[in-house]
Amino acid sequence: MKREDIVNFIERAERGDKRALGRLLSVLEDLSLETAWIVEYLASKSGRAHIIGITGIPGSGKSTLISRIIKALRGKGYSVAVVSIDPTSPYSSGSILGDRLRMQEHATDPGVFIRSVTTKGLFGGLSLAALAIIEAFDAMGYDKVIVETVGVGQGETDIMHVADTIVVITMPGAGDDIQALKAGVLEIGDIYVVNKSDKPEASKTYEYMLFVAEKGEVGRGGGWNPIVVKTSATLGLGIRELTEALDKHLSYLIESGEKEKRLVSRRAHMIKLIALKILLESLNSVVEIESSNIMEAVKSMKGFYEEALRIAMLSGKRISDLISI
């Protein structure tokens, strides 16, 4: 893709052209070397959005709840972008992006933009593409950027580096899952939601969540005690309380200076992923070319490793310089 075309997409996207934004996101997904200067440009415009990570145990009604949240946030006048992360099929390189299905009622809302991302990141975490897309949504002025991740695996700890607010969704009677939550998979929430609260066992789960939240067994520490909210996504109950909790957490972040810190952490994470990408691609070419000489290859690798580390240490402003080595 030519640089002028990309500039054209960016300019049009900034004027609110959704088609151009859609195309721009594809450019970012492709992760060509162009990504670097685009990300650099986007980073100069971004930093204002409230990044909300939403994760939950499978079957907790996550997508339906997100659809309700979008509606409530729109009601408050916020524009909303969603990055929906779908798992890639383990059997083929293809994938079915189905999570957007539950949010399709918002597809035609001019203040909503939903994008599915399939590409798995290195080591199974959030991909660089996902991070670049978040950066783009932020730069295009979306007030709220919701990042939906599957409730298991590496993505959960990755989201910690990226989201300002993490919402963890659980549901009544998920006894084993709560054990999993205590065991660390989902312990990083700022807000806990007990969805399907119309179920009989709901109050028991709610009480339990309150208890662990107050005891400080879950949460990201600092001066914030996780809020626990009961919802029923199907019946639309508890959604107002949930959006109020989101606002409350955002105020806390701004007042405590955490918001700024989390932005830095997000950028740092992105830089790290860019560095890793450079490293891996370089390694691949080295291994291919020089596999006949093992010692030589190892030596080159060492050089790349040091270079990648150096990149990771630097600020987002100079990403492009580094990439055009």
Partner: protein, 566 residues
């Protein structure tokens, strides 16, 4: 209990079989090898070259086969079967507005059909009015548009509801459509004890297959059970539910899955009704079933026979039903729409005939035969008549209706009946271990199973393991011939406009305060968890529209959207 075959007889046959296998067969196979590596039914059940009494060695005749009209009803629920009365020829029909459908029903009655069956358009099926944005372009297309009591009055103009029985393929809006029907019957002066017919009203299969769901699973089941409870107490001749495997099969399930999931749905409903405090013998005789008849001839016949035997056992042994009528599995059959193809469409007449014959040999109570033009459009009158006449030929020319359960005792058919039953029980056990079908559906279990099967079938077609005449073998270029298919033509836009005008008129001429009160009462009854049927009937009589009633219920119960299953 005595076995069908003595041990001596079995031993003798085993010995002879072994001799045949080692002395006769190999030479034949070397000269004429089998044409494929393995033979399976459409459901993938592996088949041997021949079946003998050895495959039925443990059979006790009375336990497995018995007599028609006697437990376990393998041979049929009536002692007389078609020797007394031919099955009901019930043609699923309806298109356009109520006027067009009224004409079609009268034509079919004149052509000799013996029961009515209404097909509704998609807006009606999901309970939205013709002026809803999603209804645009869909009013009257795949069935009749029936959003108000007035429409139903026109559909049955000059048809006396005391003389006919009517099946209505309707699910989430079943309370509304049943109320329309009852209100029309009342206006015609037909008493409740003479109102006969069926509402499909089977919510669980909506989530598995038909996908005209509206409410979330629990609420959907609750509403359906309201219809059953109200109906068994008020309409003694009405079948308030038709527990349907048809759509599950059409969505790609195997025969075994169709059977198992349908019975598991039935089990769930029986439990729900018992939990309401109803006596099993009060409602069980009113439960009815609906199956598909696919192209794999013997498998279908075996499926129907196994279904009767299994349900009888479930009702008698699991639920302690005392009345023999409670043990009956009464079922309607439709030939397989998914077995029809647009390529060389006339071949569909032949397919349908075989499928209909399987339904008759399997002992169905009523039958719909598909029209050959269905891959294209709602049937033309010409095509619908051929389909109906196909049933008449089976009934009056072939002799298939003259002896009860004529394939009983075929080693193959009896073995296959046992095999299908055995496989279906395994599915039912798995569903039971999940806590029943409502839980299994919420987990997406049957949904995934069906998707797997449908994908597997498609792959088999691709790989040439399943041969379809005119589709993947004996293909032809045939555009000119197809130009000669006389398709049903009607002005859809005109009908949509008419239906929108009519509903506007209904809304503007009804008694506003009566209408508002009826909907308020309905909402409150739903919030209190009461049976909604009397309130829906009341609202219908106040000319509340289908969409208005459904919207009221959606506010209370919420709506459902399907998660992706892959």
């Amino acid at each position: 209990m005595a076995k069908l075959y003595s041990k001596d007889a079995i031993d003798e046959i085993i010995k002879a079989y072994k001799e045949w296998e080692s002395n006769v067969l190999p030479e034949w196979l070397s000269r004429m090898p089998e044409r494929q590596k393995e033979f399976t039914t459409l459901s993938g059940i592996p088949l041997k070259p021949i079946y003998t009494p050895v495959d039925l060695r443990d059979h006790n005749y009375m336990e497995k086969i018995g007599f028609p009209g006697v437990y376990p009803f393998t041979r049929g629920i009536h002692a007389t079967m078609y020797r007394a009365r031919i099955w009901t020829m019930r043609m699923f029909s309806g298109y356009g507005g109520p006027e067009e459908t009224n004409e079609r029903l009268k034509t079919l009655i004149k052509a000799g059909e013996t029961g009515l069956s209404l097909a509704f358009d998609n807006p009606t099926l999901v309970g939205v009015d013709p002026d809803h944005p999603l209804a645009e372009g869909a009013v009257g297309v795949v069935g009749v548009s029936a959003p108000t009591l007035l429409d139903m009055e026109i559909i049955f103009r000059d048809i006396y509801l005391g003389d006919v029985t009517t099946n209505m393929t309707i699910n989430p809006p079943a309370p509304v459509l049943l109320s329309f029907y009852v209100a029309v019957a009342e206006k015609q002066g037909v008493s409740y004890d003479r109102i006969g017919g069926t509402t499909q009203n089977d919510p669980l299969k909506e989530f598995i297959a038909q996908k005209t769901y509206v409410f979330p699973p629990e609420a959907a089941v609750k509403i359906a059970m309201d219809v059953v409870e109200w109906s068994v107490k008020n309409l003694p001749k009405w079948n308030p539910i038709s527990i349907s495997g048809y759509h599950i099969r059409e969505a790609g399930a195997t025969a075994v899955q169709e059977l198992a999931f349908t019975l598991a749905d039935g089990i769930e409903y029986v439990r729900q009704l018992i939990a309401r405090g109803l006596d099993v013998d009060m409602f069980a005789p009113r439960l009815s079933f609906f199956f598909d008849s696919h192209i794999n001839f013997f498998e279908e016949i075996a499926k129907f026979r196994a279904a009767r035997r299994m349900w009888a056992k479930i009702m008698r042994e699991w639920f302690n039903a005392k009345k023999p009528r409670s043990w009956w599995l009464r079922f309607h059959v439709q030939t397989a729409g998914c077995s029809l193809y647009p390529q060389q469409p006339w071949l569909n007449i032949v397919r349908t005939a075989f499928e209909a014959l399987a339904a008759v040999l399997g002992g169905c109570q009523s039958l719909h035969t598909n029209s050959f033009d269905e891959p294209f459009r709602v049937p033309s009158e010409f095509a619908a008549k051929i389909a109906l006449r196909t049933q008449q030929i089976i009934a009056y020319e072939t002799g298939a209706a003259d002896v009860i359960d004529p394939l009983a005792g075929s080693y193959f058919v009896e073995w296959l009946t046992d095999e299908i039953e055995e496989r279906a029980w395994r599915y039912i056990e798995r569903i039971e271990s999940m806590g029943g079908m409502l839980e299994a559906v919420k987990k997406g279990y049957p949904q995934r199973e069906v998707e797997e099967s449908s994908y597997r079938f498609q792959k088999e077609v691709e790989e040439g393991k399943r041969l379809l005449v005119g589709v993947n073998i004996f293909r032809e270029e045939e555009v000119e011939e197809i130009r000669r298919v006389p398709l049903l033509e009607f002005n859809q836009e005109e009908i949509e406009r008419r239906q929108k005008e009519r509903i506007k008129k209904v809304r503007s001429t009804r008694d506003e305060s009566k209408w508002r009160r009826a909907l308020d009462e309905l909402r409150r009854a739903a919030e209190r968890g009461e049976n909604i049927m009397p309130y829906v009937l009341n609202a219908v009589k106040a000319y509340a529209t289908l969409g208005e009633i459904m919207d009221t219920l959606k506010e209370v119960y919420g709506t459902y959207e399907e998660p992706p299953y892959y």
